[in-house]
Every structure is written in C-alpha cells, then in structure tokens.
Amino acid sequence: MYKSKLSDHLILILGSVLMIGPVLIVFLTSTHDAVEVHRFGLMASWGDHFTETYNKVLFKEGGFTGQVTGVRMLINSLILGIGFGIGKIVLSMLAAYAIVYFRFRMGTFFFWVIFTTLLLPLEVRIMPSYEVVQQLGMLNSYSGMIVPLLASATGTFYFRQFFKSVPDELLEAARIDGAGPFKFFIDILVPTSKTMIAAIFIIMFVYGWNQYLWPMMMTNDEAHFTLVRGIKQILLVWVGSQIPEYNEAFALAVLAMLPPVLVVLIFQSWFIKGLTESDK
C-alpha cells in the first residue's frame, strides 16, 4: 500500500494555507479601522471594530455607494442568484424534457438552435446584448439582470445528459401505469432528478451571484446593485481619497464571498457531483 509521506502533507498544508490565508487576512483586516490599516498594512490579528464596521457596511446608506445599504445589495445578490438558479432549472428542465422524451418534427433543429449557444459566452456579444436590453426597456431591473443570462444551454445540457441516463424502462413502466407526459414529469421525473436539481441549483446560484460584467453594464441605479457589482464602486470611490476605507471595502468583499462559499461548503458533495458528473 502507498504510504503517505510527510512531504505530501506539507504540500497540501501549504496549498490550503495559500487558499485560505488571503481570505482570512482580508476578514481579519476588516475588523480593524481604516487609519490603522492605512498605517500598518494588512492585519493578521483580530481588531475591535468588527461590529462597527459591519454595521456600517450593512445598514448605513452610502457607506461607499452613495445611496444604498449593504443589506440592499445583499438582497439584490440573493435575487440574482436565486432567480437565475430557478430560472435556469425551470427553463432547462422543460427544454431537456422535450428534447429527450418527445418525438417531434424539427426536434433536431431545435436541439441545435439551443446547443449552439454553448459556443459563445455572453462576454463576446456584450455590447449588442446591452442594446437589446435597452431597447426592451429592461435596464435597471431584476429581469434585465437575470433573463439575458439565461440565454445559454448549460443547464439544458446538464439535464439532457441526466435524462438520458435515466433508465428507459422507467418511462415504459409509467406509461403502462397510465401516466401521460404531465404525470410522468411531475410524478416520476422531477422526484428522480431531485439531487441533480439541487446540484445544478447550487452551481447556478454561485454563477448568478458572482456575475460582474453584466450587472455592471445593466445597472447604474444603485438600488439594483449587487454586492459583487458594488466592488466596482468601491474602487471608483477610492481613486482620489486620502485614506481609503480599506476596512469597509474588505467587509463588503467578505459579505460578497460568504453566501456562495457557505452554500458550496454545506452542499459540498452534491455540488461536486453535479459539477463533475454532468461534464459541464
């Protein structure tokens, strides 16, 4: 049997430290006040301004951004993450159901229409997408933030792969048991896909929460800012300020990281299964 060597552990510990260290330091620094940070640099110790800083970032209007509180941004981020996750699952499950379980004319054509979207990420058509959203009057709205992000087939691809792996006999047994397309979907397929749905939701939630470029272009009304989008604002305020509010910037960064990190940690096994088994 292979014996694990000390060096293996050393490498892994070094790796873990490099992964966790920066985040830990950012968190610790956020508990000090700005002047201290400015004078002494990043901190590896617990400061005594934790409540004060986080209170300010969460509840004070205009900490950084002029008109909006951290709580508002947190809520916006949640709306984007959850809305995107749910939207993705609903759309792509329905589409994958049609593609895998129905025989219909132009099925192959629609399949390609949908899967071609895997070819081009949003970033390469960002300008015209912005214009389309503008023409539709969807700037500065949650739907404008979420819906265009849904125009890709990743979820559909995941579900298609998964549905194909569901044994054919399940459908056959259900048909003999008198289940039509609706009943089969609700009674059999959705419950069978529960783990898959959870895994994809986690992946999509993190993806939605972490969106940056699109919300940045889409929203200039601060009431619609997400936490990740708020990062940009921090930097703009910085330019030209004497003593930047480092602590608050870090607190905001911590807030922006916390929910997706927690979700990924808590649902680790589902998340990894969903990520690796569906092959993206």
Binding site: H9, L12, A98, F102, R175, W209, Y212
Partner: protein
C-alpha cells in the same frame, strides 16, 4: 433519444418555447447585431451609421495596440492555464495519496471556487497594494520595486497570480474526482507491475487522467479569456492606458467606454471565431467521451 417517446402535437413545442424565446431574443439577435454592426461605422453622435465593409476588421487587425493586447492575452491565457492546471494536479495527486485527512484537504482546497473573480481581484489588489500590501515587502527584499498599476510587467504579474489562485480549486475538484474514479484494481495492478511511484504516475495514472485534463484545458482557456474580466477590471481600475488588458476587456472598453461600436463589434466577431474553434474541439471531445465511456 429514448426507446419509447411521447408523441404529442403541441406539448414539446410548448416546453421548448420559453428557452427558445429567451435564446432568440438574447442570443441570436445580439449575435446577429454584433456581426452586422461590425461592418458599419457608427456616427459618434448617434446619427445613423454607414456601411464600411471590412474596414473595421482591417483597422482592428492592423492596429499595433490590438496586436500587443492579443499577444498579452495569449501569454496570459497560456500562463494561467498551465500554472493553475499543474498546481491543481499536484494538489489533487497529493490529496488522493494521503490516507488521513483527504476529505479535509479537499474541503479546504475547493471552496475558493465560490469566490467571484472581481472579489478575488480586489483581494489581490490589496495584497499587491503600494501602501498596505505585504507582497511589496517580499518583493523589496529581493530588490524588486513592485508597482502594480504603474509598471506593465508588475501589473501583469499580479493578474496572473490572482487568476491562477482563483482557478486552482475548479481544476482541483475535477482532477481529484478523476483520480478517484480510477478503479482500485487498476492501481493495484500497476503497483504490482511497476516499482517506481513516479513511473506509475507517468505511465498509468496520467494517461487515465488525460480526458479530464483535456476537458480542463479547454475550460481553462475559456476562463482565462472571458471569466477573468472581473479580475482585469479591478486590477486596472479603468485606467487601461499603460496596463496589460485582455481582448475581452478591450471589447468592453472600446464599445462601452469609447463608443466605437463598429470596432468593438468587429473585435467581438473575432473573439467569437476563437471561442467557436475552442468549443468545437470541446464538443468533439465530449462526443468521444460519451462513446467510449
């Protein structure tokens, strides 16, 4: 697809309708517009546009600035891909090898996946910051006068470090589950056949990991090209002047900040072609994987 399928006159179309509608409006329409406006010159004051043929393309491809950004993007992509893949592979191999604590290491090493690129960028900027960044002291120790945001090379260095840091967990997750999917019996057989651990890794484990690695290669290239936008944006803070930027950032700068819709669109189309080729590779690969296992 399935041996038995439903045949229903309208239901499948209804099921596809929401997805199709969104895709047509927010994918095909903008993509078509990008292609179309890449052949036009937009009046800067919004008074219509004129057809200029390939001029936007020749302008873009002929420009020195574009060429240097393209060079940087290629170097950046290759570096980030190579470094994040090899570090992740090393960590995965070790995490797979240790008997105790494997799942703890896994947890510790994977969770950064959930950190958004711009947040990672912000943290990185702080570590490399000229006033408070600890990295400066390390660099100074080696006589390196590190100036993020001012020195081209230093800024590029910071970007690569941040982008690699952010991507290691993703690769790690895939490599580790790839390693864990190798049947125990295969490992045991190789243990009997081959004495040297390194040779075993090289001749048995690595080839079995090759599909995962290839898949990750494409994913990492796409990541370096597009998903690093947040990192670049945070690091250069809109002051692209002397700083390294990627091609996607240039599209955004010219289109959104500079108002040069035609040029920006032409660049979009060029990028589309690049991703297109990458993705075709990926598809062919996934197809193969579906067939053989």
């Amino acid at each position: 697809m399935k041996r038995v399928q439903f045949t229903n006159a309208s239901l499948p179309y209804l099921l596809l309708l929401p997805q199709l509608a969104i895709i047509v409006i927010f994918f095909y329409w903008p993509s078509a517009q990008a292609i179309q406006s890449s052949f036009y010159l937009e009046d800067p004051f919004g008074f219509g546009s004129t057809f200029v043929g390939m001029e936007n393309y020749t302008d873009v491809l002929g420009s020195n600035e574009y060429a240097s950004i393209a060079r940087f993007t290629i170097a950046f992509t290759l570096l980030v891909t190579f470094l994040s893949l090899s570090i992740a592979l090393l960590l995965a191999v070790k995490a797979d090898a240790v008997l105790k604590g494997s799942s703890t290491y896994k947890t510790l090493l994977m969770w950064v996946y959930a950190v958004a690129p711009p947040v990672a960028g912000l943290m990185g900027v702080m570590f490399f910051d000229m006033h408070i960044g600890p990295f400066l002291k390390v660099a100074a120790f080696f006589g390196w006068d590190f100036k993020i945001g001012l020195n081209y090379f230093d800024t590029a260095f910071a970007m690569v470090v941040i982008a690699v840091w952010k991507q290691i967990p993703y690769n790690f997750i895939f490599f580790l589950s790839g390693l864990q999917a190798i049947p125990k019996s295969v490992r045991e057989a190789s243990m009997i056949d081959c004495r040297s651990g390194f040779r075993r890794f090289w001749s048995i484990i690595l080839p079995l990991l090759a599909p995962t690695a290839f898949f990750l290669l494409i994913i990492n290239m796409t990541y370096s090209l597009f998903d690093t936008f947040g990192i670049v944006d945070v690091v250069v803070k809109d002051k692209a002047a002397n700083n390294p930027i990627t091609l996607v950032y240039k599209v955004y700068m010219d289109g959104f900040r500079g108002g040069d819709l035609g040029g920006s669109s032409a660049q979009s189309v060029i990028l589309m072609l690049v991703v297109f080729v990458l993705t075709i590779f990926q598809f062919r690969f996934i197809e193969r994987r579906v067939h053989y296992g």
